[in-house]
Amino acid sequence: MIEVDNLTKLYGSLVALRQVSFRVDQGEIVGFLGPNGAGKTTALRILTCFMPPTSGTARVAGLDCQQHSLEVRGKIGYLPENVPLYLDMTTRRFLSFAAAAKGVSRSRSGQEIERVMEVCTITSVAERLIGHLSKGYRQRIGIAQALLNDPAILILDEPTIGLDPSQIVEIRSLIKQLGAERTIILSSHIIPEVSQICQRILIINNGQIVATDTPANLTAQLQRNLQVYLEVEGPRAEVVQKLEAVTGVLEVKPTDGESSYLIETSRGEDLRPELARTVVESGWQLRALTLQDMSLEEIFMQLVTDEEAGKEQK
């Protein structure tokens, strides 16, 4: 559905994207994850034909974004970052402009506007000026305009930013529901959000895609090692020495706490019984022993920082 090849975008001498390639299939919900300034918005803006790439191609439904701009734009519903809106228009008036611009026929327009307002639960503010509405409503008006004319592809740039928690839950479930029959790309820097909604994640940093997979695979792939958290009362040096002698233990790292340690073990084995036995046999007091799962946050941090460390070395 969406094919991006070797996309590079320069702003003057600043590289926003470098040689980015990815595919999105029909019906997929894909999340763009990355720190601020990573190039998420730039990539989305190129896909929506708002700006051209410096080099490389972006194709939507087989059509090049630059050569067939109008056709491509007709297939996409887009929620821009920060949701710019005409503050002096009423919700209904703005949506009717958007519907007309998207080529919804006049006879169908009224019905279509009612439909998207209902989906986004903004029917109650239909006659209010957008400038008088709260951020949550504006965000939903932005999503409503993207849904007009039922586009096959939805591109949402930070769809839940600035919403309160209950609205976030609402919008997330709305996106999931919409994703049943549409292709959706959304960007975010909120990791749980992306891992909940998306079937696939593209992690982007410094203009490059550093990882792409399902949330589950990404977690599995990066959890090369298991970490065990251990609290034990005993002489530090001796504890470290004894624990490192246990087969399967890769490293024992004393942490900041008085008597706590992080133990890296090779994947696939649960070494907790061994560790417990060693501690008890040595006559020390075992306070805590837990297996630590690496969260997506940590994976993200690891990817992003690995990348940066790699660059510094160069």
């Binding site: 320069l10 702003y11 003057g12 803006r45 929506t48 034909c49 708002f50 700006m51 051209p52 410096t54 630059q66 109008l70 056709e71 734009r73 007709g74 996409i76 887009y78 821009p80 920060n82 710019p84 809106l85 005409y86 503050l87 002096d88 228009m89 008036r93 402009f97 958007a98 007309a100 611009a101 998207k102 080529g103 305009q145």
Partner: protein, 256 residues
């Protein structure tokens, strides 16, 4: 051309939703009303005196004494007001980011430019129409030369379209509305009076400057002279700036 009507309707709605239009309309009509009143009052005073001197009464006519100054003053007021009407058109959308909608909806750049242009011209045409009662007032007291009046209004309409196209161009250059207005006002004023330099430069450049001047071409209309060269000049002027605006919008495709 897709989208002209959509953008036109949106712009028209936003003109009437914004206080700028009403303030500009109020000032415009107040000034025009004052100019009309003073030239008519002066004309009637002179006519009164001329009743005793037949020689003077031959010199008096409505076109020279009322219509020409009336159209002339309207054109100067327009020069001041049009930049205020047009400054918003692109600058505001760029500033607030709504331009992202215009560029990602399936409407062409040409449609956007023409939609905004026609909306601006329509609003000004409405202002001009609001000055028509003055002409009907003349009808009540005398026999105004209607063809001259129609020529004058045609000239004003063409002036408006030229001004709006330049204002639109200025607005497409910047995100800042004040800068857009200042640019448009400066350029219009310069083009209005550029003919004055005629005597200072050589005859070739002089006649070129005179041709370039908006004032030269407007004077004919104000006197009721309809010359196809003047019409052509205004149309060319308008087309040139609409084309330039389009190029500026399209420059986002190649600028870094």
């Amino acid at each position: 051309m897709k989208g002209i009507y959509v953008v036109y309707r949106k712009e028209l709605y936003r003109f009437f939703a914004s206080p700028i239009f009403y303030v500009v309309a109020f000032i415009f009509l107040a000034l025009v009303g004052y100019f009309f009143y003073s030239s008519v009052a002066y004309y009637s005073l002179l006519s009164f005196q001329a009743g005793r001197t037949p020689f003077l009464s031959e010199q008096l006519n409505l076109t020279d004494m009322v219509l020409e100054p009336f159209f002339g003053s309207i054109s100067v007021v327009l020069l001041l007001m049009v930049p205020l009407i047009t400054m918003r058109l692109f600058a505001e959308e760029k500033k607030t980011g709504t331009v992202e909608f215009l560029f990602t909806y399936p409407i062409s750049d040409r449609g956007t430019v023409l939609g905004k242009f026609t909306a601006g011209v329509s609003v000004l045409a409405l202002l001009l129409a609001a000055t028509l009662p003055a002409m009907f007032l003349l009808e009540a007291f005398t026999n105004p030369p209607w063809p001259t009046i129609m020529g004058g209004y045609l000239g004003l309409l063409l002036t408006c379209s030229a001004f709006v196209s330049l204002g639109l161009f200025a607005s497409s250059l910047t995100q800042n509305q004040i800068i857009a207005a200042a640019l448009a006002f400066g350029a219009l004023l310069l083009l209005w009076i550029i003919g004055w330099a005629e005597t200072l430069v050589g005859p070739t450049l002089g006649s070129f400057l005179k041709y370039l001047s908006l004032l030269t071409h407007f004077d004919n209309f104000a006197r009721g002279i309809l010359d196809s060269r003047d019409v052509f000049f205004y149309l060319l002027f308008t087309l040139f700036f609409l084309f330039s605006t389009l190029r500026i919008l399209e420059s986002r495709h190649w600028r870094g």
